[in-house]
């Protein structure tokens, strides 16, 4: 029985080079995103945002990182050492791991323009995306603080109410493409981007994505107004920085998955070498949506979040998947 089809295998050294490139890209992209977000957020609030460090404030992330690295590594007395330290590491790990499956272009000269093209594709994304939540839960619980604990519990509740809708929202696209592989799904959008036939799926995925990335208006695990900073209350220095890094990575990955599934991935006019640029442009466009929504909407209440997830998103996502399944079979 064929368990998983492997189209072609790449040499080990190519994989290592890819892994290094992805790792380097993470630490190049995430700091830039922080300053971009702060500047865009500033514009939304009719102010400039950071513009003091370096030209146009572009060196702000360097200053931030330097400050965070220079800070003392402290632990609360009630913290469980190992788990407390493992939390941020786990979150960053899962963020980097999910970045591996984003396809940046087609296979050229036997080298795929992605980290790995796993045949289970989107399941890999959900598996590692779900893992990041363990980081929040462990970190929040191991801090030995009630605010952290509440934040961690909230993130758990949020996860179970959104992960299902998110997966079901992608179901429509998967059914239409007939494959789980992300490159194949992009190829299936040659004629029309899936955002047109699967608009509802796209909307549900983005809304669930906001919750998945713990971004406003679903940033309940952090909720600075009521929970100080939620699961990251007791963290400082680069450990806190890791949580922030992971948040931006997660946002990036969710935008990337949405671009791959609904916006035609790397497809765009122009020669083949523009593929990664198209992909990046689509991702950044979706990230802008994240910032825009953050600048606009207030945080929803906990029960509103729950009832919205279970009573609105889940039925809609199920309906979307069902109708798509029927249409795909019939047509």
């Amino acid at each position: 029985m064929l368990i998983a089809e492997v189209g072609f295998a790449e040499a080990t050294w190519i994989l290592i080079v890819k892994a290094l490139v992805i790792f380097a890209a993470v630490f190049a992209v995430a700091p830039v995103l922080t300053v971009v977000e702060r500047k865009i957020l500033g514009r939304f609030q009719a102010r400039y945002g950071p513009n003091r460090v370096g030209p146009f404030g572009l060196l702000q992330p360097a200053a931030d990182a330097l400050k965070l690295i220079g800070k003392e590594q402290f632990e609360p007395r009630g913290a469980l050492r190992l788990l407390y330290a493992a939390g941020p590491a786990l979150v960053v790990f899962s963020g980097i791991a999910t970045l591996a499956i984003l396809p940046w272009g087609d296979v050229k000269n036997g080298v795929g323009f992605y980290g790995i093209d796993v045949s289970i594709g989107v399941l890999y994304f959900f598996a590692f995306g779900g893992l990041s939540f363990y980081g929040l839960l462990l970190g929040g619980w191991a801090s030995g603080s009630k605010y952290s604990f509440l934040g961690a519990m909230r993130s758990a509740a949020q996860l179970i109410s959104y992960e299902i809708s998110m997966a079901l929202a992608l179901f429509g696209a998967i059914l239409m493409a007939g494959t789980l592989s992300l490159t194949e799904i992009v190829h299936a959008q040659d004629d029309v981007w899936f955002v047109v036939p699967q608009f509802l799926g796209f909307l549900i995925f983005m809304v669930a994505g906001f919750a998945e990335a713990n971004r406003a208006p679903f940033d309940l695990p952090e909720a600075d107004a009521e929970l100080v900073a939620g699961y990251q209350t007791e963290y400082g220095g680069m450990r806190w920085g890791s949580f922030m890094l992971a948040e931006y990575l997660e946002m990036f990955v969710i935008s990337g998955i949405a671009a791959t599934f609904f916006l035609g991935g790397w497809k765009g006019p122009g020669p083949g070498f523009l593929d990664p640029i198209w992909m990046l442009a689509k991702i950044l466009g979706l990230m802008f949506l994240f910032f825009w929504v953050r600048a606009t909407l207030p945080r929803v209440r906990y029960d509103q979040l729950m009832s919205f997830g279970w009573k609105v998103l889940l039925p809609l996502a199920t309906l979307n998947a069902l109708v798509t399944a029927v249409l795909v079979t019939v047509l």
């Binding site: 865009i40 514009r43 939304f44 609030q45 009719a46 825009w292 606009t296």
Partner: protein, 187 residues
């Protein structure tokens, strides 16, 4: 209409014509609620986008300064007569008497006719304003019979030591190092 209101709302008394029924918002939830939430979300997004298009309204302070109105009460200035160069202050201490914060100290001395300092009989040998106590009310300016002291336009007076905030006569007579921008007519 009024009758229907009384029936549905069930007032415990017979409402007069001047009783205004409370306008309630729409019930939350349901299809209508979902539609409303969606619409309001889009409206909010439009509002924030409009702010972005409008551009920042903040002033980049140390480089850009807010222009002040001509009547702005900033740091004090002491004046001289333009033609003779003599000080207008005659050391009458009326400003010190008027000062509610008690931050002005004046010690008067007799003018030497050969070497006049002020136009009057006496002059201020010591004229000090403790700006860390001053409340910038402008009473000194009002009290002065010779317009010798006026409130200037400078508002950047931060310093590291409290002692440096006691301004002497020389400092008050000197032109400010940097001119504060003045608001022009119609701005």
């Amino acid at each position: 209409m009024a009758k229907a209101d009384t029936e549905t709302r069930q007032f415990p008394y017979l409402p007069d014509s001047d009783v205004v029924a409370v306008q309630r918002g729409p019930e939350p939830g349901g299809i209508k609620g979902a539609y409303r939430v969606f619409g309001e979300t889009l409206r909010g997004l439009k509002t924030t986008m409009a702010r972005m298009i409008e551009g920042p309204v903040t002033i980049q302070y140390p480089e850009e300064k807010t222009a002040v109105y001509p009547r702005f009460r900033g740091r004090h200035k002491l004046h001289r007569f333009e033609d003779t160069g003599l000080e207008k202050c005659v050391g009458c201490s009326l400003c010190a008497a008027a000062c509610p914060a008690d931050c002005i100290r004046v010690v008067a001395a007799e003018n030497d006719p050969a070497n006049r300092v002020s136009a009057g009989e006496r002059y201020a040998a010591v004229y000090e304003i403790n700006l860390s106590r001053c409340i910038f009310c402008g009473y000194c300016e009002v009290a002065c019979p010779f317009d010798a002291i006026t409130m200037g336009h400078d508002y950047e007076m931060a310093d590291y030591n409290r002692g440096d905030l006691i301004f002497t006569k020389e400092m008050l007579l000197a032109e400010p190092i940097e001119r504060t921008p003045l608001r022009v007519e119609g701005e």
